[in-house]
Amino acid sequence: MSDAVLQVRELVKHYPVRRGLLRRSVAAVKAVDGVSLTLERGRTLGLVGESGSGKSTLARVLVGIETPTSGQVLVDGEDVSTLSRAGRKQLRRDVQMVFQDPYTSLNPRMSVGEIVGEPFAIHGIDPAGGRRAAVGELLELVGLDPDHTSRYPHQFSGGQRQRIGIARALALRPKVLVCDEPVSALDVSVQGQVINLLEDLQEELGLSYLFVAHDLGVVRHIAHDVAVMYLGRIVEQGPEQPVYDTARHPYTQALLSAVPVPDPAVRATAGAAAQPGGLVLEGDPPSPVDPPSGCPFHTRCWLAPTLPEARSDAPGSRPVPTVCATETPALVPHGDAATHVAACHFARELAAPGVES
C-alpha cells in the first residue's frame, strides 16, 4: 500500500429513529453502511452519489462532526477513535472541511478576519508574525485581497465567499480537505474558478482532497480516483478513467448516462429526446431506513430484469435474478485494473463498454 493519508475501514453510521413515549429506537437510518476508502497523499478522491446515498454523512464523520457507529477512521495511520480527547482535537486539525453553501457556511456577524482567524483562536495558536498577518496570507493564498479582513461576508459574491471558506479550512495547515459539494451552489462561470483554485492549492501545498459531489463532470475533472455510493454503500470504485469509460456497475452506467451532455448532437443520435444512452432509471432511490435486501440497487436496476436468470417472485413484480435480491454483492475487481472494483453479481455482463457515447 502506498502513502495513505486518510483511511476509512468498514465505517458505519446509523441514526436511530425514535418513536413513542420512551423514545425507544425502533429502526435506524443506515446512512453509511460499511464503507472502506483510501485517500492517498496529494491525490483527489471523488465521491459521487445521489441524495440519500450517504456521501455527505461520510464527509461529516471524517471531519469529526458526527461520530461513527462503528468502523475506523485512520489519519496518517492513526486511528482517530482510540485517541484521547486532546489527541482527537489535534488530529482534527489535519482534516478540514469546505462546505457546500457559501451563503450559510460563514457567520454573517463575523468579519472575514474573524472568520479566517477563528481556527487560530480555537486552537490557541499564534502563528509567526501574528494572527493578522497569517489571515492576510491565507486570503492572498486563495486569491482575495488581504486588506479586506474587516469586511463582512455579505459584501462578497458567492465565489469569493467560497474562497473565504477555503481560507478558513486551510488555516490549520491540514493534510486533507473534505470538500462537500464545494461548487454546486455557484454560477457556472464561477465554478471553474474555484475548481482551478483547489487544483492550484493541491499542487502548491500537497493537499489531499476527498471531493464529494453529484456533478459527475466536475468530479471527472478534478479527481484521480472515484467512488460511487448508493444507499450507504460503495458500489463501484477505481481510478477515474476506467470508472468513467468502462463502468462496471449498472448504477454507475445509469448515472453517467443521465448526465445531460451539453451537445445537442448527442440527442440527435440517441433518438428519443432527453434520453441519451437510453438508461433512464425507474423511480426514486429507496429509503435508507429500509434498504432493499440483497443488492441495494436491485429494485431500480435496469440490467437485472434483462438477464436470463431473472425470475419474478410474485405476479406483477419486477423479475430479477434471485441472487440479486438475496445476496449483497461484494466489491470485487473487474476489468483491467486491479484497483477498479464493482459490487455487482453480474458485472461480467457489462464488460462490453455500454456507456461510452
Binding site: D145, S189, G217, I222, V261, A274, P276
Partner: protein, 395 residues
Amino acid sequence: MSAASRMRSAAEGEGRGTRHSPGAERSEGEPKAQPLLEVTDLVVEFRTSDGVVRAVDGLSYRVEAGRTLAIVGESGSGKSVSSLAVMGLLPPTARVTRGSAQLAGTDLLALRPRQHRAYRGERVAMVFQDALAALNPVHTVGYQLTEALRARRGLSRADARTRAIELLDLVKVPNAKARVKEYPHQFSGGMRQRVMIASALAMDPEVLIADEPTTALDVTVQAQVLHLLAEIQAERRMGLVLITHDLGVVAGVADDVTVMYAGSAVEQAPVGPIYAAPAHPYTRALLRSIPSTAGADRGTRRRLPVIPGRPPSPAARPSGCPFHPRCDVAQDLCRTAVPPLTSPAPARLSACHFAADVLANRPPRAAERRDDRPQAAETPTTPPFDEQVPGGDHE
C-alpha cells in the same frame, strides 16, 4: 433604441433581406408559424434602497406551438424575473416599465391583476424549482391539483377526484388512485415535481413556463422529469419555456435557445447551431467552462477554462457591453457602445459588436463593420481588462 427595434433594424438593416427570428429552423416557404407567446422589449425594474434597478432590460423572445425555448443565464441575469413578469407574479417592488407579452392577441402585461389571473393557469402555467415550497403541506395532493378546476370550472368533488387521478396518471405517478389522497411530504422530490407539473397542466395551458424544474433533483430523477416534460409537450403541442442555468439540460430538450446576461438576451438561436458555433463570446466561454464526463481532458488534468470575474449585479452594470469586463475578445468599442442584437448568419442573433468574427471563431477585426470608426482601432487592444487574477476585486 429599444431591444426590439434594435433586433428589427439589425435583421433588416444588415441588408440580409429576410427577417430571422430565433428558432426559424424550418424549410423555406413554409408559412411562418404564429407564435403562441411573443414577448417584446420587456423591461422590468426593481425599486431598491439604492434606487431603481433594471433586472430585465429589453428582452424579446417567441414561443411556438410544440417547441421548447430555453432561457439560459446565471444568477442575476433576469431569466426568472422575466417569466414572473409574464405570469404577473412579480413582487410588489418590481414593475414592468416597457414591453408587451402577446398571448393569442392579448397583451398580458397590459392586463389588470384581476384579468391577468384569469389567464394564469388557463393559458400560461408555471412550474417552479422548489416543489416542496410550492405545494401546501396541509392539503392532499388531489385537492391541490384540482383546487383551481373546482373554483373556475365548478367541478363536483367526484369529477375533481377523477380528474386529479387522470392528471397524476398523465405525469406517470404510479398508483395514482391511492396517491391523490396523500400529502406532499409523502412524495419524494421527483414525484413532487411531477405533481407540480400535473397541477400546471390541470387547465390545459398553451404555454408552460418551467423555472429550473430539475435543479433540485438528482441526475437520474432529472432525466425522468425532463423525459416526461418532452413527452407531454410533444403530445399536446404545447409551447414550453425552460429556464435553466444548465447547458447540458438545454442541449437535451430545447429547440431554441436564448442566452441572457445582465438582464438582456446576448444570443438567440436554434439549439444545434448555438452549440456548434456560438456567436457571442459569453456563450462560447460558458460552453467551454463545463467540465465534461466524456473526459475530453483525460490523462493530463488541464486547467478548466474559466470566465474571469463574476456576473455583474443588476445595480452596477458595466458601461457599454455588459460582458466586456469578462470578455476574452473585448475591444475599446465594447467599453463604450452597447452592442445591438445583430444577425451574423441566418436564424442567428447575437449582441456582440464582433458577432460575425466570434461565429467564425477568428479574432475580432475591430471597427470595419462599424463603418464610422477610425482605422486605428483595427489593432486589437490587449489584454482584456481582467487579467486572470483569481478573485481579487473583479470577481
